[in-house]
Symmetry: C2
């Protein structure tokens, strides 16, 4: 059951982009969409970031290879239900076969097709149903199909995740729409499970890559469900240019809107995290370095003992102290640490706050959205991380995933 998340409404089309999704036969459930196609009009810019896993999946390797050729990407072909990871050379051949089939059907080059997969690891990708579905997928392409596409990329997600923003720049309308999937094996490392964000602004290629790097740091690279980084994380940012509005990293209004889309999508993944009953923000400030701040935030966010206390709504904040205590830090002075649960102060200068009472802590822990704040009082660096709790349902979902 997702925490404060609904099915997306009012998703704006992004001019220059058409989408389609359908059931091809990869998933057993014949009502579940498992194949998604995104068509990009010629002349768009596209930037991608991918998992840092040593065992990156075949589609990730092929995507990176195609992108390195600087060809105009014209199609993104995304399957759910099978990750095509840990499949070796055969997996790579399977991914190539899918790209080739689509290239042949549309008259583009193979390297203008970018493949993406998500689902079970270490099983061969069923290529035949994918090839067979291509004509119908092409026939269904429509600029208004963002919601269907967001459904098509789901695996253990309980809700589709998409965010849309319209803004006005130089008296012209500019749209940003993005979608993402993911609810387990979530600790993106340079990217998220799968996320696609598009705008019709004009953004030069190099600029777009820089922008993507900036955006993921505070969004997809700041979330964790279980600390487990996927073999298939991919995040793609597309600028079709159809609005004829030029933007770059100096355009504050656009960058804020884009950041909002990235953050909302990253948060949506946490709100729909496997078994989640809580949405938790961990803020660490006053750190000597940003790396220290992130280290404390992630140690709290990934501690199984913190996460089970959150699930139980138990203000057992000794576990927060334990987690800060074990964070790999360049510098810490326990006697300067302030710790807050929502508005309630737990520690002041390293000592239990005399004003604290169990009732105050209980009230904060009972909320479905919780903020934990740590001030190390050592410097100016800060970090913000979003996470979920660890519930019976997380165990259930992951113990039964393949059955």
């Amino acid at each position: 059951m997702a925490v404060g998340l609904q099915t997306p409404q009012n998703l704006y089309p992004v001019r220059g982009l058409r989408l389609a999704a359908m059931h091809s036969g990869i998933k057993n459930d014949s009502t579940a969409k498992d194949l998604t196609l995104i068509e990009i009009a010629p002349g768009a810019s596209l930037a991608g970031v991918f998992t840092q896993s040593h065992f990156s999946a075949a589609p990730v390797q092929l995507c990176q290879q195609h992108l390195s050729l600087d060809s105009d990407a014209r199609f993104l072909l995304i399957n759910s239900g099978n990750a095509n990871a840990g499949t070796g050379a055969a997996g790579l051949r399977d991914a190539i076969a899918c790209c080739e089939a689509l290239a042949e059907a549309t008259g583009v080059d193979r390297d203008q097709v970018l493949p993406f997969s998500t689902g079970v690891i270490a099983e061969r990708l069923p290529v035949t149903p994918i090839k067979k579905a291509i004509p119908e997928l092409l026939a269904r392409l429509d600029a208004d199909n963002w919601l269907e596409a967001a459904q098509g990329i789901m695996t253990t997600d309980t809700l589709p995740k998409a965010v849309s923003v319209q803004l006005e720049i130089d008296d012209k309308a500019v749209f940003i729409t993005g979608m993402a999937k993911g609810s387990g094996m979530i600790k993106p490392d340079m990217a998220t499970m799968l996320s696609y964000i598009a705008t019709d602004a004009v953004i030069e290629q190099g600029e777009l890559s820089q922008m993507l790097g900036q955006m993921v740091t505070g969004s997809f690279n700041s979330i964790t469900v279980d600390g487990d980084t996927s073999t298939n994380d991919s995040c793609v940012l597309i600028a079709t240019g159809a609005s004829a509005v030029n933007v770059n990293r100096g355009q504050e209004e656009f960058c804020q809107a884009l950041q909002l889309v990235f953050e909302k999508l990253a948060q949506a993944i946490i709100r729909d995290a496997e078994g989640a009953t809580k949405f938790v923000e961990v803020n660490v400030e006053g750190a000597a370095t940003e790396s220290d701040a992130r280290s404390v935030a992630f140690t709290i966010a990934e501690s199984p003992l913190v996460k089970t206390a959150l699930f139980a709504s138990d203000p057992n904040w000794g576990r927060f102290i334990m987690a800060i205590g074990r964070a790999p830090l360049s510098q810490i002075d326990p006697e300067h640490v302030d710790l807050y649960l929502g508005a309630v102060r737990l520690l002041h200068q390293g000592l239990p706050d005399p004003e604290y009472s169990e009732a105050l802590g209980q009230a904060e822990m009972s909320r479905s959205e919780i903020t934990i704040r740590v001030n190390l009082n050592l410097g100016d660096a800060r970090a913000r991380v979003w996470t979920s709790d660890l519930s019976y349902d997380y165990v259930k979902i992951n113990a039964e995933y393949r059955s």
Copy 2:
């Protein structure tokens, strides 16, 4: 329910050591022992290693202070049910008060008493019941009380943990007996939750410290339940010298016996890990460095997705690949990796083994004792880590810990 672990039998006394344990009133359950005393005869050597947590508990700080004074430690006073951690200066005063009460009752100096605590973090230690129990504890001291003492230090443990070995050196009998507690918040960093190992061999102080450092690396520092390092981890090795047999690190038979005691105690903690239904050994070999080998082993051992698959007896070994893939390594070549589940090969040179079948994998995963073996085929370094699975009961135990 512990995996392959029974209540210890036939624990040898260690000459020069007497023990006692009783219920003093710290735990609510009046049948549960919560206070343990170990008396050491004059002239023994003692070495300790402690948690590396930035928030080490008051008793840990006081222990380290007392040890630094080079006084002859004569008593270990250990309470369970309360960790006296995150309690600031008041917590330190409480620990001092307990040591002083015991010193006064026995005529030793305060710094000859070493205090230890384990239990809930961030609550004040109840000093009054501890002081009140001291006369009875002293009256109960007996060399034969190892089992009672092992019960006295338990918190969420379901069974007491102790191991005993007798060996003959130079025609003289030498005894080693040790006990440990811990089943959650287990990823000891230089030590374990609480562990006390004693021998009546004669071992010079500096030698004993070196020996302890060597012993913990392959035992308590090679186990993980949840990756959460406690604020109270302490491991103490005592050599009473009562056997009049001199040993040092060169005495192979003694060192092997001592290593066995350390390993069995560390394994006992994992066998009794919170909610454990599996005992899992992760072997990583062929790594470029020992640090790389440990990094891969711990990443597998701590992955929530690996642990839920183990709980489900699901041979979803794509998750092993995922975990290896996200391990922070100095060097890896995915195309050289071999991966085994028990005797079954999953990956050979980075590719799925054609001989593998789901039935073979299922048979291995259904066992209660499981071995995962990775060969990186890069070098000669290796590591071995023991861990447990992640079950509904782990969540239950930790969601309900304080209720």
